[in-house]
């Protein structure tokens, strides 16, 4: 079992859309996937029509294996399960701070389901916290959606610095350009400069700005299910294939 995180310190960059569509794409490729929603807003669960977990409260996520596994729900798609979030997840840092080995508790908690899945995908909240550090340590790879704008560029640089400072392997970082509008020269220029500055960190695949992605909230379903032939679906499929290749999971 491998763990993949979808993380950005910046909000609104398409983390949840990326997580949902990647998780579904992986499942269509034959992998057994668990999409673990760590964001208390519970948007991943919302997209799959899965209700928030009522019983996975307080520190139980990290301490109660039975509750954690009981909270997992099958999605409507073969091979894809969801661990939905609830508002209690906003206090994860508080609970983690009281625990021993507070930076590795997430990985420990996820080992409870390692036999059930080929891949666990973590949809992370937009902050740098103890939970984020847990994510950085637990994940085998971290997909970082980056809108090719100045602010997102700055956020990515911060993340790379954080990895340097905390002696975390930068090879885990897989930058992916998100919400790309090819008509905007700024997007093109930023993509070039970032790719040049971080040669190995950015993936070839990129996700376009597409109304299909915005409409996911209306359909409450992944794109490959509602608009499988659309440009965005093709982009997510290509991204999924490239991520699996980088993680050594490609068949």
């Amino acid at each position: 079992m491998k763990i993949l995180a979808c993380y950005s310190n910046k909000g609104g960059v398409g983390k949840t859309a990326t997580s949902v569509n990647l998780a579904h794409a992986f499942a269509t490729m034959g992998l057994r996937v668990l999409l673990c929603d760590l964001d208390p807003q519970g948007a991943s669960g919302f997209y799959f029509r899965v209700k928030p977990s009522k019983k996975l409260t307080e520190a139980r996520f990290f301490e109660d294996v039975a509750r954690l596994t009981d909270a997992i729900r099958a999605s409507d798609y073969e091979g894809l399960d969801i661990l939905p979030a609830n508002m209690g997840f906003r206090d994860f840092d508080v609970f983690l701070s009281r625990m021993r080995d507070k930076r590795s508790r997430l990985k420990k908690a996820l080992t409870a389901v390692q036999g059930d899945y080929d891949l666990i995908l973590l949809d992370c909240p937009p902050n740098i916290s103890t939970l984020s550090e847990n994510v950085f340590r637990a994940a085998d790879a971290i997909v970082v959606p980056v809108i090719p704008t100045t602010l997102s560029e700055r956020t990515f640089e911060h993340l790379v610095d954080f990895f340097d400072t905390h002696d975390l392997p930068k090879s885990k970082l897989l930058g992916v350009f998100s919400m790309v509008q090819t008509s905007k020269s700024l997007h093109g220029d930023t993509m070039k400069s970032l790719t040049s500055a971080h040669k190995k960190r950015f993936l070839r695949a990129w996700i376009p700005f597409a109304s299909d992605i915005e409409r996911m909230g209306v359909h409450r379903a992944p794109l490959l299910a509602t608009a499988p032939k659309g440009v965005a679906s093709k982009a997510y499929r290509a991204l999924a294939a490239e991520v699996l290749e980088r993680m050594g999971l490609a068949k």
Binding site: R49, K51, I72, R73, A74, D76, D81, R220
Partner: protein, 497 residues
């Protein structure tokens, strides 16, 4: 016990299921279209007996297991034996079927599949089900439940509804689809304590004649070699009764019947001998190094050609007027036995006679076993094998007479011993028949002659080991432990030490 995964429902439950909600959940049905379906089983209906059902539709095989689990795979295959199926879960789950029995279409009809989903207030699927409506000999409705992780209550709600609608275990699906009483090579012959030997013998023969006849179409179609084998076993059992129950029918009638059944049996000999030789193909290849395999291929090609001719002759025999008239006469004779003519032992109690015969046969085997020395000819061992075969058939005919536990031990031991003696005898016979095959070839290729020579040498090399194993097993069977079990099997002998 784990809950079932599939249930058989009354066909009328279809409407109720497809329309009604299930508790707080709504039901979404996606009906399919009727497609042609073929239900498969072996001739002896091994799948039906084991509570399984196998059908083919839309280019795939689907197998229902006794617990209701469903397996499916593409219907690609190079033949109709289970081993001929493409690798997949269905093939794996059919691995227990006899390698000698092919799958046959038992019935054809239509299947309509409907997918059901129970959804909650967010339109999230909480449990799925597959409804399969079969329309073959009869209509049958199968529902397969598919629970989803984290939605156990929804699954149980649907299960409860299925049970309310009359859901029952799916083991009888195959029987419902195919109808009719299944063929069995070992039909039960009810013999009462008060039955005369005449009645019992007549009933046994009248029961086995239809078994013999049931195998005729399969021999003609050449589906698999078991049809001829079972045809011969049926005849052999009839001949055994005629031989052992001597005196039950008039002497001249008995002799006449023995001659007539022997003639029927003789007609099967050449084809069966070739079947046995060809079935040994893999074993023969395993015994010789690859360099000698081309010669073996030539040998088996020659045997296959001979078999075609033997099959043609067998088919001509079975389809001939003489055979039709003979088998009809014999069937009528045993169905209405007043013309059989009772002999001097006709009124003896069947069970008394059977017990006497069983004890005598056992004693004969014990005596023959005691006489065995290193110099005992192979033919004598073959005779003991025939005694064992007769003893086993006798105790099988009269099985209800015996104490069940020792009966099982004795029967199993005899069967194992017969197999060992059979293996030994086959090796001896094979050496002779291989030489005969070579002699029958106008100009046998050198490679074939080399391989046959090598095969004979290997068989000769195994002779001593096989003989020693057979004798050791025989002596164990006639030793004090198994004799005690044998006697404890007999009625009124349970208190023997």
């Amino acid at each position: 016990m784990l809950p079932l995964l599939s249930y058989l429902l009354p066909a009328k439950a279809l409407a109720s299921l497809a329309q009604g909600p299930c508790g707080k959940l709504s039901l979404v049905a996606s009906p399919g279209h009727p497609t042609p379906v073929t239900v498969w089983d072996t001739f002896d209906q091994a799948l039906r007996r084991s509570g399984r059902a196998l059908w083919e539709d839309s280019g795939r095989f689907t197998l229902l297991l006794p617990d209701g689990a469903i397996l499916a795979q593409a219907a690609d295959r190079k033949g109709n034996f289970a081993a001929d199926l493409a690798p997949g879960p269905v093939k794996a789950a059919l691995a227990d079927l006899s390698a000698l029995r092919c799958l046959l279409p038992m019935t054809r009809g239509e299947i309509t599949e409907t997918r059901l989903a129970l959804t909650d207030d967010l339109h999230k699927t909480c449990v799925r089900a597959e409804l399969r409506l079969f329309n073959t000999e009869t209509r049958a409705l199968l529902i397969t439940l598919q629970g989803l992780r984290g939605y156990d209550k929804a699954l149980e709600a649907l299960r409860a509804q299925v049970l309310t609608l009359g859901g029952e275990a799916p083991r009888t699906l195959c029987a419902r689809l195919v109808g009719d009483t299944p063929y069995t090579s070992k039909p039960e012959v009810r013999i009462e304590a008060a039955d005369s030997a005449f009645d019992a013998a007549t009933r046994i023969i009248a029961t086995y004649l239809p078994v013999v006849r049931a195998n005729e179409p399969g021999i003609l179609a050449d589906h698999d070699t078991e049809f001829l084998h079972q045809y011969r076993i049926g005849l052999r059992k009839i001949r055994l009764i005629l031989g052992l129950f001597e005196g039950v029918y008039r002497a001249d009638r008995t002799q006449d019947l023995r001659d007539r059944f022997a003639k029927l049996m003789r007609a099967t000999g050449p084809l069966r001998d070739l079947d046995v030789a060809i079935l040994d193909r893999d074993h023969a290849h395993a015994m010789l190094p690859p360099s000698l395999h081309p010669g073996l291929e030539a040998l088996f090609a020659a045997l296959a050609t001979e078999r075609q001719e033997a099959l043609r002759q067998m088919a001509a025999h079975l389809q001939g007027r003489d055979y039709a008239a003979e088998i009809k006469t014999l069937t009528r004779l045993f169905d209405k036995p007043r013309h059989l003519g009772p002999g001097k032992l006709a009124d003896v109690l069947a069970t008394d006679l059977a017990l006497r015969l069983i004890l005598a046969r056992h004693q004969k085997i014990c005596q023959a076993a005691a006489r065995i020395t290193p110099e005992t000819p192979d033919e004598d061992l073959h005779l003991i094998r025939l005694h064992l075969k007769k003893l086993r058939y006798l105790i099988e005919f009269f099985a209800p007479l015996f104490a069940p536990v020792p009966y099982k031990v004795v029967r199993k031991t005899i069967k194992g011993l017969q197999d060992l003696l059979g293996q030994f005898n086959d090796g001896v016979v094979q050496q002779v028949s291989l030489q005969e095959v070579l002699l029958r070839q106008a100009a046998p290729p050198v490679a074939m002659a080399q391989s046959v020579g090598a095969l004979m040498a290997v068989l000769h090399g195994c002779h001593g080991t096989d003989r020693a194993a057979a004798i050791a097993a025989l002596q164990a069977f006639t030793g004090p432990d198994l004799c005690t079990i044998f006697h404890s099997m007999l009625p009124g002998q349970g208190d023997l030490p």
